[in-house]
């Protein structure tokens, strides 16, 4: 019997309420929004690339000056080399090569391998940091709304204080103090990014708290924790999902920006780091900066489109 219980009930004793018909309903609504499907497609593609891609390409950190500044496949650049012996310029045409389809950077590192490694980093940071932020935000928001009184006051004033910190400056400061590492970046974004979520969840939970079913579950003997986790949070789960999806691009951008200004994790290749190396040679090897830029652009756009689609699908008042 314990086996069936663990199968049908979550760890917190929460009843499993995934309803296939409801899921189908949301899926049908989401499907009507073409842009969000495109977004979802790109996110899935990126996730697959991030998970399996590194297995198929060379080491992104491998330096080879013999093949530096190779243009992408199908493009070509002219390279002029000054020969000291003959004291004249020889200009050669360099074509993209199939073994480096997206070209190489100024140190001869393969762009494709670096971009794939970067997508892994970006997704990892995006998911972990916004997951952490949303988790904290939900917890603080629900706690604040449900308990009310001085707890609510204290938590919300704390949220206000957190909101007044210039987030990016704080990030820079902490990375400067503790040294750049991916874990620090994730932690800082996660520990500072929950404020908006907390506010939103609190306001939603406040209106739910006065609903009769909360009083009813209390009347039938539910503890505060049970009311919060089994009744309040499941009612805001759609809000949480949408908020998480829409907060991921911001986190990805923050990580890229940090890496761009040189405060990223030096041990890992992120889109921001590639952008940083590419900016010095924008006039000659344009692809080094443009390629990660395009990736960032499409990733952020995809998450935004998908998040918008999800929000409309979950909103019963929205006509899709």
């Amino acid at each position: 019997m314990t086996e069936t219980r663990s199968m049908t009930r979550g760890k917190a004793g929460m009843p499993v309420y995934i309803n296939r018909r409801l899921m189908n309903y949301y899926w049908e609504r989401l499907k009507k929004n073409r842009l969000s499907l495109v977004g979802l497609g790109f996110i899935v593609f990126l996730a697959l690339v991030g998970i399996f891609g590194p297995l198929f390409v060379q080491d992104p950190q491998k330096v080879d000056f013999e093949i530096k500044n190779m243009p992408p496949l199908g493009c070509s650049i002219q390279e002029s080399v000054y020969d000291i012996k003959t004291s004249e310029f020889t200009t050669t045409l360099i074509n993209g090569r199939a073994d480096h389809p997206l070209g190489t950077d100024s140190k001869g590192r393969d762009m494709l391998a670096m971009l794939i490694a970067g997508s892994r980093i970006s997704l990892l940071v995006g998911l972990l940091a916004s997951g952490m932020a949303i988790f904290l935000g939900t917890f603080i928001g629900v706690l604040s709304a449900y308990l009310g009184g001085w707890v609510d006051n204290a938590l919300m004033r704390f949220t206000d204080i957190m909101m007044t910190f210039p987030f990016f400056l704080l990030l820079v400061l902490i990375v400067f103090i503790f040294g750049p590492s991916l874990a620090i970046i994730v932690l800082v974004i996660g520990l500072t990014g929950w404020t908006g979520a907390a506010r939103l969840i609190r306001s939603e939970a406040l209106s739910l708290r006065t609903r009769d079913f909360i009083t009813a579950s209390k009347a039938l003997g539910a503890s505060d924790a049970r009311v919060m986790f089994n009744h309040l949070i499941p009612n805001v789960i759609s809000l949480i999902i949408v908020m998480a999806t829409l907060s991921i691009p911001g986190v990805i951008m923050a990580e890229a920006a940090l890496s761009f200004i040189g405060l990223g994790d030096p041990m890992s290749t992120s889109w921001g780091t590639i952008l940083n190396t590419g900016q010095h040679s924008l006039d000659t090897a344009w692809w080094v900066a443009v390629e990660p830029g395009i990736m960032l652009f499409f990733t952020v756009l995809s998450f935004n489109f998908f998040g918008d689609g999800l929000r409309d699908a979950f909103d019963p008042k929205a006509s899709v």
Binding site: R211, F213, A219, L220, G221
Partner: protein, 329 residues
């Protein structure tokens, strides 16, 4: 306290400390509930019936609400002052509550089955299969056709009557011995009302359950009630058997209330009403709170608040017209 008393409310006062003043929603309520009886709490809107019911299980928002005085004795335990942990064990398991609006009293994101099973699990560990079987039995007892199917339904997929019955099933999931029903039929139509009243009557008979039935509909009182407590201005003004209350009320307010019932045998064009309005709970009149509207007001009513006095056995009334010895002065 006699042997068959299951719940005793003594001088209960629940006040709400609001910005505009102290709202004395419940201001000295006394009544007892006996085993297997249905006690009706009757009165106008805002007279403190619902707050009394909520106070029994301490379900009002606190702050601003607070029980300032009084006791709610259940099995020798004072629910008004015991720890919240102890009270939580009583809620649902010994004393359950049914709310007026089942639509909003059911959680919209869970199926009925999940909610009942959750409720069963909240009080003691039962295997899921057993809990589901019990939920199914309960729905069957509530005369819901195809209970297995109903278990998998979400509240919005049910009709109003089904929701109300599912709500009652949920409150019965831990076999409580007292059921507090707060206007359970206000939000449903007459046919469903008949069904629900029938179910409540069966519960009383089959399970030997005590019911506190809150209503402002006197026809329902006649149908289900054994005794009735008439509320006015946060106090009980008269307690008696339902027959006596309906046929020969003693308190001027109860008399006025009964006169307001439309009578099919007379053909008066206009319904009589009690003059004046319900008192403002922040600023209750001094003395007897009913005196500004009372037809038989006396000098003493302006200054002295009458206590609830036993007249003869079951009958108690709070009015200066009656003396402790019994009978009208």
């Amino acid at each position: 306290m006699t042997a068959d008393t299951v719940l005793e409310v003594k001088n209960l006062k629940t006040w709400f400390y609001t910005r505009r003043g102290i709202v004395k929603a419940v201001n000295g309520v006394d009544f007892t509930l006996r085993r297997g009886e249905c006690l009706c709490l009757v009165g106008e809107s805002g007279c403190g019936k619902t707050v009394t019911a909520l106070s029994i299980l301490r379900l009002f928002d606190s702050p601003p609400g607070r029980i300032v005085e009084g006791e709610v004795i259940y099995k020798g335990l004072d629910l008004a002052s015991c720890t919240i942990q102890r009270l939580r064990q009583i809620r649902g398991k010994d004393i359950a509550m049914v709310f007026q609006n089942a639509q909003s009293a059911l959680n919209p994101v869970f199926t009925i089955g999940d909610q009942i099973v959750e409720q069963i699990n909240a009080h003691g560990q039962v295997s899921r299969a057993d809990a589901v079987a019990k939920a199914c039995r309960l729905l069957e007892e509530m005369k819901i056709s195809q209970p297995e199917r109903a278990l998998k339904m979400y509240p919005h997929q049910m009709s109003g009557g089904m929701k109300q019955r599912a709500m009652i099933a949920m409150s019965l999931s831990c076999d409580p011995c007292i059921l507090i029903a707060d206007e359970p039929t206000t939000a449903v139509d007459v046919t469903i009302r008949a069904q629900i009243m029938h179910i409540l009557q069966e519960l009383k008979a089959n399970r030997d359950m005590s019911i506190i039935f809150i209503t402002h509909d006197l026809s329902l009182v006649r149908e289900i009630g054994d005794r009735a407590a008439v509320f006015y201005g946060g106090k009980v003004v008269e307690v008696d058997t339902v027959e006596h209350i309906l046929e020969s009320p003693a308190h001027p307010y109860t008399i006025g209330l009964m006169r307001c019932l439309p009578d099919i045998s007379t053909d008066s064009k206009r319904l009589p009403s009690i003059p004046g309005n319900t008192p403002n709970p922040i600023d209750m009149p001094a003395g007897c709170s009913f005196h500004p509207r009372c037809q038989e007001v006396m000098e003493v009513c302006h200054s002295k608040d009458p206590a609830l006095m036993n007249i003869a056995g079951v009958h108690a009334v709070a009015c200066h017209l009656f003396s402790a010895a019994g009978g009208k002065n």
